[in-house]
Amino acid sequence: MKQKKEFDFFDKPENIKKLWIMLYVICGLLIIPDSMTHRHAYFGFDSFFGFYALLGFVSCAALILFSKLVGLFLKVKEDYYDK
């Protein structure tokens, strides 16, 4: 008997590529409103174009790099405490 075909959308490279394009497009579209409306700034500097996008990008990159760095010292084998 033939088995029902498995749903494997996310395994196909061409779909992954489409998802990448989608992600870039969404990010791009989200920055557009910044040029049209004037966002009320809480502290002054946060009203500039694409502030939150930049904040998200920079802070996440920094967090990942920082965790990678401290990981060099903090990561140990799983049986570390059993020895």
């Binding site: 498995e6 749903f7 494997d8 996310f10 395994d11 990448w20 992600l23 870039y24 969404i26 990010c27 989200l30 920055i31 409103p33 910044d34 409306t37 966002r39 009320h40 809480y42 502290f43 694409g50 502030f51 939150y52 996008a53 930049l54 904040l55 998200g56 990008f57 802070s59 996440c60 990159a61 967090l63 990942i64 790099l65 920082f66 965790s67 990678k68 401290v70 990981g71 903090l74 990561k75 140990v76 084998k77 799983e78 570390y80 405490y81």
Partner: protein, 587 residues
Amino acid sequence: MTSNFPPALILILGALLVPFFRGKAKNWYVILLPAAAFYLITQLETGSSWQIHFFGFDLTFLRVDKLSKVFGYIFTMNAVAAFVYAFYLKDNTQHMAALFYIGSSLGVVFAGDLVSLYFFWEIMAIASTFLILARKTKKAEAAAMRYILVHIFGGLCLLAGIILYITQTGSVAFNPMAERTLANYLILVGILVNAAAPPIHAWLPDAYPEATVTGGVILSAYTTKTAVYTLVRGFPGWEILIVVGCIMTIYGIIYALLENDMRRILAYSIINQVGFMVCGVGIGTMMSLNGTVAHAFCHIIYKALLWMSAGSVLYMTGKSRCTDLGGLYKTMPWTLIFGAIGALSISSFPATSGFTSKSLIIDGAVHEHLLWVWMVLEVASAGVFLHAGIKFPYFVFFAKDKGLRPGETNKSMLIAMAFMSFMCIFLGLFPKPLYDILPYEVHYNAYTFNHVIAQLQLLMLSALVFFLFLPLLKRTETISMDTDWFYRKGGRVFYFIMDKGLNGLNRVSDRVFVRGLAGYLGRISRDAPTRAALLALVPAWVMGGSTGEKLTQKKGLVRLALQTGTSPVGISAAVATVFLIVIFLFM
């Protein structure tokens, strides 16, 4: 007042009857108890009751106001969902421990004085330990032991603070604490242990991931959130909490990014989320306190949902490490969808509950012009999407297919997750019912165009970074050292130092004093009479003309006689005389 009955007692007394129920009746019974408690809380009238005079103190077991009620609602509602989730479970120990644990957390929330608060606080610690022990693995046992020891330490800080507080103020009432006294600081430390604030937080990621499938779901809600409640009640506006909260938000993210075990990722994200709440308490304005309470409310729902979805995966596959998981979207689509709703909520994605609650805290910081605090909270918000919002679902359900085909989890689990997902989205779209039950009046709308766009920019760019940096985030089969190192490994280092240090000292002492010096003194003392006798007699014998062979023979005789105690009277008298002279001369 007949309707005023402590809701804690329903669960605690009800727990005692659990063993008498069989089969499905047991599961229905444990669902019914928190549901009854929830109904009771809706009926409670504001004010204090159940006051008992005890050893000269006025204890208040039931203080009802908006703050205690809102925590009561969410505690009981979450309990209902958790027991629906646990509908497959027949284990009396787990059900009873959970009921005691949840019941005593209600006890803490409705306690009007510090003594009864402490009483329930300690029951919570003990009952929750059984949810970890129930996993019945060696690792769980060891983790449970460390867990209870840390909580005993926290409990002792709290107790010491309470005793000092009572002796200083003469009152047991639990109200906002204004003075910065030692007593209040001790109470604060005791609470912060339960809030999992670094550096006394490691018990949480150490113990929760070792708990049972449902134990993890239940544990994730109560200990840290009763601590948040106690902070809101007792320490609003304590600036130190802003710092503690900010540290917690970032700390949780860094470790969650390093972790491999999905339930440890979620455990660290509790620390991150509680950080937002603690920060809100530190800011201390009506808006930020509302934000803290609202966030605690929503957090309990989406965090339980995340633990449920991770629990389902663990239940079906028996695995919890990201390196062992992946590709589960094919066979566990519903678990994925519900888990993803939880993941979006924790990331405060617009249209989910996190968005309508966390924004209150962040706006609270803005209103107080706390630039750095606002900055940290925004950075942390972006980071949440990284570690809990994407990392957890991505590595468990997508990433590399590890060939696992477990099939969808059981129905009761799915029903519980569906309910929690519904709540996440409902509170995200219609926050008004939640805003209405918050301690202070709310005039806030999270859904301004700019706010939504700003939040989406923040989150989508975080997502972009995640996928761009994916090679850096590759999972490794490792754990990360945290402050529990000091009592896990540090304990052994301490033992080693003590062993080598003190026992070494012991050995040296043994050699020098016990065997060396004491033996020497012993020999000296034993020979003393002989030596003294010889000292006195030899010159006399020499003068008497005894030399060589004869002298040696005489010496031998004296030695023998003194050692066996059979000396002639003359010699004894001579020895005694010499001793007397010595004593006379030197004393």
